[in-house]
C-alpha cells in the first residue's frame, strides 16, 4: 500500500516536472490568457521535451537514473513555482453551485481517476507492454543506452510515450513507467473538459469529460501501458489550440498546435492518421484565413518534433516507416503482420464499413476490446454533428472524423485505435446529449436515461476490471502470485529465471520479455529473426551467431520444435505453463508444456 502511494506521489512529481520543463520551452511564446490551456500546453510540451531528451540521451549512451532524478527534481521545483503563478487569482470551479447531476458526473470522473490509479499501481501485465512498450525501455535502462531491436518490428514505431515510460524506470521502476500513459490520459481528459467548456459551457464540459474518461475503453487503455492515451492527449491539445486560433487569431496557438500534432506523429504511426484528420479539419475550418506563414507556423514545429523517429528508421532500415509501405521484413513475417492487422473487425468491403456502428455495438469483441467502447459516441455524435455550430465547423468536424475512421477501417480495426478520435467525439456526443435533452420532456427522458444507463454499465465493467488489481496494489497479494495469474506462460519464465544464470543465453518465443531476467534472444515476434520455415543451416547459424546455450519452446509449436531438432540438444525440463487469453477478463487457456533444451556444445 505504501509503495502504491509512493508511486502516486512520484507521478504527481512527474506531472510537475513536465509543467516546469514545458514552461521553459514555451517561454518565448508567452501566455494565451486562458490559464487552463496554458497549464495543459506546458504539461504536454514538457512531457514532449522529456521524451525527446531521453531519446537523444539514450542514443548517446547516456541513460542514467541519477542524472534523470536530478533533472526531474529541478524541473518539479520549477513546476511548483509555475503552478502557483497559474493558480494565483484563478477562478476555480465553485462546486457548491453545481446541480446534483453535475456533482454526480464530477464524482464519476473522480471515481475513474481512482480506479485508474489502482490499476496502474499493479505490476505491468498487458502482453504488448511486456513485449515492447515496457519491455524495450527495461532493456534500454539496463544497458544504459537505446539500441535497435530488430526482433520486433513494432519497436520501429515512433516511441515518444515509451520514452516517458523509460523515464519512469529511471525514476524508480516499471510501475512508475506505467504511470506515464495514465498521466497523459488525465491531461487528455482535462483538455476535453476545458475545450468543451470554452465551446459550450459547464454542462457540456462535464458531460464530455465523463463520456471520454468514464468508460471502460479509456480506463483499460490508460492503465495497460499503451500509447493511445498519449495520442488522445496530443490530438486534444492540438485541437484546442487550433480552436483558439480560430476564435482569437493568435499565431502562437498555431505553433503550439503544430508541436502537439508533431507529438502525435512521434508517438505511433497511427498518429500520422490523426494528424492527417486534424489537418483536413483545420484546413476546412480555417479555409479563408490560410496563408503560407500560418501553414508554416503549424507545419514546421510539427515536422521538427516528429522527424527524429522517422530519420532514425531511415538510417537503421532505409525505410522511415518500417516495416510498413516500403517493406523490409522477411516474407513470412510480412505475411503474418498483414494477417494480424487484417484479423481485427469483420471485413473491409463497403457493406462492412456501413455496418461498423452496429457491429461495434453488438459484436465489439471482434474489434479487440470494442465491447469496452461506450455506446454514447454512436448514440449522440450524429446529433451533435448536426447542431454543433456554424456550417463550416460542422463540415470540418465531419470531414476530420471521416478521414480518421476510413483510415482506421482500411488499416487495422482495433477499437483502442479509435481512442485518439474520442476527445473530439466526446465533445460532440455531449453537445448531442444536451441538444436532445432541450427538446421536450421525451427528449430529456431519452437523453438522460440513455446517458445514465450507459455510464452505469460502463462503471460496472470498469469496477470489475479494476477489482482484479486491488489485492496486489494494496499489498494483499504477492507480485509473483499476481504475475502467475495475469502473465501468459509466467511459470516458464520463472523457471528460466530460477535455473539459468548470467553465462547462459536462452532462445525463446514468449511475449512476457519484461520479466525475463536472464540473457535471451527471441526468434522474432513474427519470426522476424529466424523465420518459421528456416532450415537446418539457417537455424544452426542463427544459434551460433547469437551465442545461444538454451532453447525454450512450447510443446505444441511444431515449427519451432522441428528447428530444435536441427540442433544437438538435450531436454532439460518440461514446465507446465498457462496461456492467458485475456488478462482484462481474467480468461486463461488450457495448460500447455514448455520444453527447455540445453545445447550439448556451448558456443
Amino acid at each position: 500500500m505504501a509503495e502504491s502511494l509512493a508511486h502516486v506521489l512520484l507521478a504527481g512529481a512527474t506531472l510537475l516536472a513536465w509543467l516546469g520543463a514545458g514552461s521553459l520551452v514555451l517561454l518565448p511564446l508567452g501566455r494565451t490568457g486562458d490559464r487552463l490551456l496554458d497549464g495543459l500546453n506546458r504539461i504536454g510540451v514538457g512531457a514532449l521535451a522529456f521524451a525527446l531528451a531521453t531519446f537523444a540521451a539514450g542514443w548517446a549512451g547516456g541513460l542514467s537514473s541519477a542524472a534523470y532524478r536530478s533533472v526531474v527534481a529541478l524541473a518539479a521545483v520549477g513546476g511548483i513555482w509555475v503552478a502557483r503563478l497559474l493558480l494565483r487569482g484563478a477562478r476555480l470551479p465553485r462546486i457548491r453551485t453545481w446541480r446534483p447531476w453535475e456533482l454526480a458526473l464530477g464524482g464519476l470522473v473522480v471515481t475513474y481517476v481512482v480506479l485508474g490509479a489502482i490499476a496502474t499501481c499493479a505490476p505491468i501485465s498487458s502482453p504488448d507492454a511486456l513485449l515492447y512498450h515496457a519491455g524495450d525501455p527495461a532493456r534500454f535502462v539496463e544497458a544504459g543506452r537505446i539500441f535497435e531491436v530488430p526482433s520486433n518490428s513494432s519497436s520501429y514505431e515512433p516511441f515518444t510515450v515509451q520514452m516517458l515510460v523509460l523515464d519512469g524506470f529511471l525514476l524508480w521502476d516499471s510501475v512508475q513507467g506505467a504511470f506515464a500513459p495514465f498521466l497523459l490520459s488525465l491531461v487528455a481528459m482535462a483538455a476535453v473538459a476545458g475545450a468543451a467548456e470554452r465551446v459550450a459551457g459547464r454542462t457540456v464540459a462535464l458531460l464530455a469529460a465523463a463520456v471520454f474518461f468514464a468508460q471502460p475503453l479509456t480506463l483499460w487503455d490508460a492503465t495497460s501501458t499503451f500509447i493511445e492515451s498519449g495520442l488522445a492527449c496530443a490530438v486534444a491539445l492540438a485541437g484546442w489550440n487550433l480552436m483558439r486560433f480560430l476564435r482569437h487569431g493568435e499565431a502562437a496557438s498555431l505553433v503550439v498546435a503544430g508541436l502537439f500534432a508533431g507529438a502525435a506523429a512521434g508517438m505511433k504511426y497511427l498518429g500520422l492518421i490523426a494528424v492527417l484528420a486534424l489537418t483536413v479539419g483545420a484546413a476546412i475550418a480555417l479555409h479563408r484565413r490560410l496563408t503560407l506563414g500560418r501553414v508554416l507556423a503549424f507545419a514546421v514545429p510539427a515536422a521538427l518534433v516528429a522527424l527524429p523517429w522517422y530519420v532514425k528508421n531511415a538510417i537503421l532500415t532505409g525505410n522511415p516507416v518500417y516495416p510498413h509501405l516500403f517493406g523490409g521484413l522477411n516474407a513470412s513475417a510480412a505475411a503474418e503482420l498483414d494477417a494480424t492487422m487484417a484479423s481485427f473487425g469483420e471485413g473491409r468491403s463497403v457493406a462492412d464499413f456501413l455496418l461498423i456502428p452496429v457491429r461495434l455495438l453488438k459484436d465489439g469483441e471482434a474489434f479487440d476490446g470494442g465491447e469496452f467502447l461506450s455506446p454514447l459516441y454512436l448514440a449522440f455524435v450524429p446529433l451533435g454533428l448536426l447542431v454543433c455550430g456554424r456550417r463550416r465547423v460542422r463540415v470540418a468536424a465531419a470531414a476530420a472524423i471521416a478521414v480518421y475512421v476510413v483510415a482506421w477501417f482500411l488499416t487495422t480495426q482495433q477499437a483502442r485505435f479509435l481512442v485518439p478520435l474520442l476527445p473530439a467525439l466526446a465533445v460532440l456526443a455531449a453537445i448531442g446529449i444536451v441538444a436532445l435533452a432541450a427538446r421536450g420532456r421525451l427528449g430529456r427522458a431519452v437523453a438522460v436515461g440513455v446517458t445514465a444507463a450507459a455510464l452505469l454499465m460502463g462503471l460496472g465493467i470498469s469496477a470489475v476490471y479494476a477489482a482484479q488489481f486491488v489485492p496486489v496494489a494494496a499489498g494483499h497479494e504477492s507480485e509473483e502470485d499476481f504475475l502467475s495469474r495475469k502473465v501468459s506462460l509466467y511459470a516458464g519464465v520463472d523457471w528460466l529465471n530460477t535455473r539459468l544464470g548470467e553465462d547462459d543465453k536462452v532462445l525463446l518465443n514468449v511475449w512476457s520479455l519484461l520479466y525475463v531476467d536472464v540473457p535471451y534472444v527471441t526468434f522474432g515476434t513474427m519470426g522476424d529473426l529466424l523465420p518459421l520455415e528456416a532450415g537446418p543451416e539457417a537455424t544452426r547459424t542463427f544459434v551460433a551467431e547469437n551465442g545461444v546455450t538454451h532453447v525454450a519452446v512450447l510443446a505444441d509449436d511444431e515449427a519451432r520444435r522441428r528447428q530444435v531438432a536441427y540442433l544437438d540438444t538435450r531436454l532439460l525440463g518440461r514446465v507446465p505453463v498457462t496461456p492467458v487469453r485475456s488478462r482484462t477478463r481474467d480468461e486463461r487457456g488450457p495448460t500447455k508444456e514448455m520444453l527447455i533444451y540445453e545445447l550439448e556444445r556451448r558456443p
Partner: protein, 64 residues
Amino acid sequence: MEQRDRTPDRPTNDDTGADRAERTRPDRRKAPGGAPRAAYAAALAWPLGCLALYAWQLIGIAGG
C-alpha cells in the same frame, strides 16, 4: 372602465374562434424545438437502439 383603442386604421378583431385556435395549436408536423417530427423520432429512437444493442452484447458476454 376599459380603455378602447379608437385609432381609425386599427385592424378589426374579426377572426373567428376557429382561426384563433388554428393559429395557437402546435404544428403537428413539428417537434419540440421546431425540428420535423420524423427527425425528432429518429433522434429519440437512435440512442435507444444503440443502448439496446450494447446491453444485448453485454448480456451475451456475461452469459458466456
